[in-house]
Amino acid sequence: MNSPKHPVVILGGGIAGISAALELAKLGHEAALIEKSPFFGGHAAHFCCKATDKCQKCGACLVDQRLRELFQAPDIALYPHTELTHAERGNGHFRLAFKSKPDIIDPTRCIDCGICYDECPSIDKGAVLVAASATQHPRYFIDPEGCLLSHECLLQGCQRMCPAKAIDLTREDSAFELEASAVIVATGYQPADPASRPHYGYGRLLQVITGRELEEKLRLGEDLTRPDGQPARRLGFIQCVGSRDRLHPYCSRVCCAYGLRLAKLIRHHHPEVEAVTFYMDIQSIGADPAGFQAEACQAVHLVRAMPGGLQASPEGSLIARYLDESTDQPVSREFDLVVLAVGISPGKDNPDLAEMLDLTLTPEGFFQSLDGEHRTGTTQPGVFLAGTAEGPRSIAECISQAAAAAREVHEYIKALV
């Protein structure tokens, strides 16, 4: 296969990668956006709007708006379900090899009806995935890894039932190469593993969910219920899960904001619901931290203590035990749902990517920037960083870092020619 030239290759199609691509396009560069998952938008495409009687400035809606811009931008080549397998550089250029999962669903035929999703016997293995954002086409993706075909799915229901005959289960992986003058690493983060705090029983206690799961539920407009179907009337939020502990010796910087905004949102729509937030310290939030905190105190009961553990009660609720701040007495409180405000952990692929691109990682596992002042540059000329790949930050901060990285690339390419 011949290798088309794209001056800039961006790895990672989350808000940081998308913003960098859009910005580069506006500065007159062609960019290729490589996304490992089948869909663009990254984590933030799963978040809900947190507006109460007014916008809470969480930035989540910017992602949906930018996604549409991305799909309409003529100078950005999109490569979903693709990942880097090899990188090489010679006389100032990068030669990058990629591997793509097949388009089992033919995008020109698919009508996004979702019958493949409904018919698949292997949904729990993630055989058919659905994009969070409806701007994506196709909205569905058949992942050969989860598909039972490899284990002889005799039904092949999807292929037979697809009204548009868009599915061909025999398509295979492909490989290709791109040349680039510069690379932006924007491969993001993974939500902290809630199992790093085993005493909260995530996975074992079904009433315990993560902030990420709550965001998604609210985005889909689902009602908040306990696993037994009872309405959830008492909500507990535990902050700093996967942050500021021995395994994660840093502040994730976004969880206070999203945790409190979610709690406020739920209280706004359901004033009868109780919300308690357990925290160590509240970080300053938004353009008016004092105002935000005052409003949060109105809506949410803030407790400066971390529950020692959670226990299931026979009635189907959870019991949290903690030391009361003012009386210093151990108290128990019942909750229908407990939300763990999981933090930002380094991306899974960081070590591999660092090796391929000759980059270093910080002790925490994020990509090491040039120094504490230049957070978009790396020690490798031509390789730049954007977004949470470099360290925890909010959507808005990802956007500004991406804008900065795009301009650095612009200047770098100008100096090359």
Binding site: E23, A164, P289, R375
Partner: protein, 685 residues
């Protein structure tokens, strides 16, 4: 069919359209019933050369007729076709209407699918055949940039702009350039910052003006007229853009906590001064004595402030061999490495008490030192601690002069006095006035790393705006009828982007206008029209409705939020959108006139919905508020003539909230049901 004028219609489809229940050939035949139109069925999956050929044959040479292209998911499915139309055939975006057939495919039966599809095309045709092509034109602009302030961000911006060939005027009120790094001790001034000052002063392309006040910034981006008052003269110059980065101010906020004035209770800067002079003992005279540091008790406490406190603590521990206590309210550790630094400090001997409130501090009885009284947080007993001295964290705030500056610039301040409105659409460095950017300490408290990203982003904005001295400006999005304008200046007051100036009539500054239409809807003389959202065009839409589709609901959707939510909702499986719902995409809710709402009713709408962005989320600042007021107004009009005001519904929602869109539709249907006395439809979900 008086609404139709000559046009070309392309139906781009592969096998999917038939699969989704709309037979393309039958559909094309039905569309062919429109007068004065020609139709092409084209498979967007064909090789590009082939598509180009077919399009050439279809459109002919010198064609100048508007084009409607209909498809499902046109922007992705027909991406190649659209590229050819836009690039090879140079179709003007205003004369090329892209129709997504999805709302038709949603319909339950074949007939409604066809009717809905036809209505979608008719609406697009009515609009596009009345559209004016809008052409961007190159207009000359000044490449000079005014950078305001002497912060690190200001100096860096000046430096980067100069290096990219933009002459800079760097001006500010202070007598000399004195940038600050909020994360490091302020004394001594760091070598890096001192060197930066030197570099800036010796760069040819940067003119540095000190002790200046900004008198006015008039006109619009590209050619602002800037008036600066210097010591002896008033300087007037033209600048293409402005970057605001005035330095932060420091406040030791003693008063906020009612702390006593005491020589041993000092601010962190004073602590640093003593350490710098090598005189920590004058802070705490006794070798091995104890000192207290206080941080995190103000809502304004920030990570940079905490970092400085930790640096001071480390020096006190090391240099002076003192016992150091840190009384900490909220540990503001949301910055790289700060949590680890706090941990490390404790390992190195810093003793930390985390308290809910500021401890009580009083002069020690009969001594020179102080007593700190607090409830010890672990054992919960009251403790009185004697310390030789105490140092209070400083907080950073916006420059006090920002208020005056904002007035001159006619931009709103955020709640903390920074020079950027509090709206996510301004992310990262925009202000409500195009060509004026706010970076680093101009828009918030941040370390140099974040400030540097702001600088890059702001300089990129300048590059995109001014180019090499010519800006691409779409011409005539909003037009003033000079015969009608009476110079009441309503438009000037309501324009969120400050795009209106005036000579003897109101004038639209094309470079700043975003086409939101707030002015046009508010003008009492109806002297302003938004091209391609003129009253005639909107009326033509109403005339295109198909009476067979019912119940007739007209939904005016802001394209930034509600339109996105609607598009997403169409793809949701449980979406149940009534066939008679017609969505009209508006450039901003600010353009939804009272007149449109009333006319929608006159043209037979049972219900009218106005869906806009949430308060504080409008891309044009307050278009959504205008829309809400207008709905209230229309509701009173309806009530006056004996119609049910509940027929008009206003709701705010976000682009990522398709469920909110469906809920709004369900609410509208419920209201309609209640009005007609029919039993309410079972809740859909």
């Amino acid at each position: 069919m008086s609404i139709l004028r000559p046009l070309e219609i392309i139906i781009a489809h592969g096998p999917e359209l038939a699969a989704a229940g709309l037979d393309p050939h039958e559909f094309a035949l039905a569309v062919g019933g429109f007068p004065k139109t020609r139709i092409l069925l084209l498979d967007p999956a064909l090789p590009e050369e082939e598509q180009q050929d077919r399009l050439r044959r279809f459109l002919g040479k010198g064609h100048r007729r508007p084009v409607v292209i209909a498809s499902t998911d046109p922007e992705s499915r027909a991406a190649a076709t659209l590229r050819i139309l836009r690039r090879t055939f140079q179709c003007n975006p205003e004369r090329l209407s892209v129709v997504d057939l999805q709302p038709a495919l949603e319909q339950r039966d074949k007939k409604s699918r066809r009717l809905k599809g036809l209505e979608l095309i008719r609406l697009a045709a009515a609009h596009v055949t009345r559209a004016f092509p809008i052409h961007p034109e190159e207009v000359p602009v000044s490449t000079r940039v005014l950078v305001w302030g002497d912060s690190f961000a200001a100096l860096k911006a000046a430096q980067e702009l100069a290096a990219s060939g933009y002459p800079v005027t760097l001006a500010g009120p202070k007598p000399e350039l004195h940038p600050l790094d909020p994360e490091v001790p302020h004394l001594p001034v760091s070598a890096g910052l001192a060197a930066l000052v030197g570099e800036v002063l010796s760069t040819d392309n940067i003119r540095v003006l000190t002790e200046v006040s900004l008198l006015a910034v008039e006109g619009a981006a590209g050619n602002f007229t800037v008036r600066l008052e210097l010591a002896r003269e008033v300087l007037e110059e033209t600048a293409g853009a402005v970057i605001l980065a005035p330095e932060l101010e420091i406040d030791s906020h003693h008063q906020a906590f009612g702390l006593p004035a005491h020589p041993r209770l000092i601010s962190l800067t004073e602590v640093e001064r003593l350490l710098e002079k090598g005189e920590p003992t004058s802070f705490a005279p006794e070798e091995g004595g104890t000192v207290a540091l206080l941080a995190g008790f103000s809502p304004e406490s920030s990570p940079p402030g905490l970092r400085r406190v930790l640096a001071a603590a480390a020096q006190l521990l090391k240099q002076a061999n003192l016992q150091v206590y840190l009384f900490l309210g909220q540990a503001r550790v949301a910055a790289p490495g700060l949590e680890a630094a706090l941990e490390a400090a404790q390992e190195n001997g810093l003793i930390v008490f985390k308290l809910p409130d500021m401890p009580e501090i009083a002069p020690a009885d009969g001594g020179t030192g102080l007593t700190v009284s607090f409830v010890e947080p672990v054992l919960r007993r009251p403790v009185k601690l004697s310390v030789e001295a105490a140092g209070l964290e400083e907080i950073y705030c916006a420059a006090a002069a920002n208020a005056a500056l904002a007035k001159v610039l006619e931009i709103p301040l955020n709640p903390r006095g920074f020079l950027q409105g509090d709206n996510v659409h301004l992310t990262p460095v925009a202000t409500w006035r195009r060509g004026i950017y706010s970076a680093g300490p101009g828009r918030g408290v941040m370390g140099l790393d974040q400030a540097l990203m702001d600088v890059e982003a702001a300089v990129a904005e300048v590059q995109k705006l001014l180019g090499q001295g010519a800006a691409h400006v779409p011409q005539g999005r909003a037009v003033v009828d000079r015969g009608l304008c009476v110079l009441c200046l309503t438009c000037y007051r309501v324009c969120p982007h400050r795009a209106i100036t005036y000579d003897n009539r109101a004038r639209i500054e094309e470079i700043a206008c975003q086409g939101c239409g707030t002015c046009a809807s508010e003008c009492p003389q109806e002297a302003i029209q938004i091209r391609n959202y003129t009253d005639d065009q909107v009326t033509a839409l109403f005339e295109s409705f198909d009476p067979q589709l019912s119940p007739r609901i007209v939904a005016f959707l802001c394209r930034n939020s509600a339109w996105e939510a609607y598009q997403a909702a169409l793809k949701l499986k449980h979406a149940d959108i009534p066939p008679g719902l017609t969505a009209i995409k508006m450039p901003c809710a600010g353009k939804i006139d009272v007149d449109y709402l009333l006319r929608a009713v006159v043209y037979g709408s049972k219900a009218v919905m106005v869906l806009a962005c949430h308060p504080d989320n409008c891309k044009s600042r307050h278009g959504n508020e205008f829309a809400r007021w207008r709905v209230e107004q229309v509701q009173t009009y309806l009530a006056e003539v004996g119609l049910d005001p509940q027929r008009v519904l206003f709701k705010s929602l976000a682009a990522n909230a398709p469920q909110d869109f469906l809920d709004a539709v369900a609410e509208m249907e419920a209201r309609l049901g209640a009005m007609s006395g029919a039993p309410p439809k079972a809740a859909v979900r």
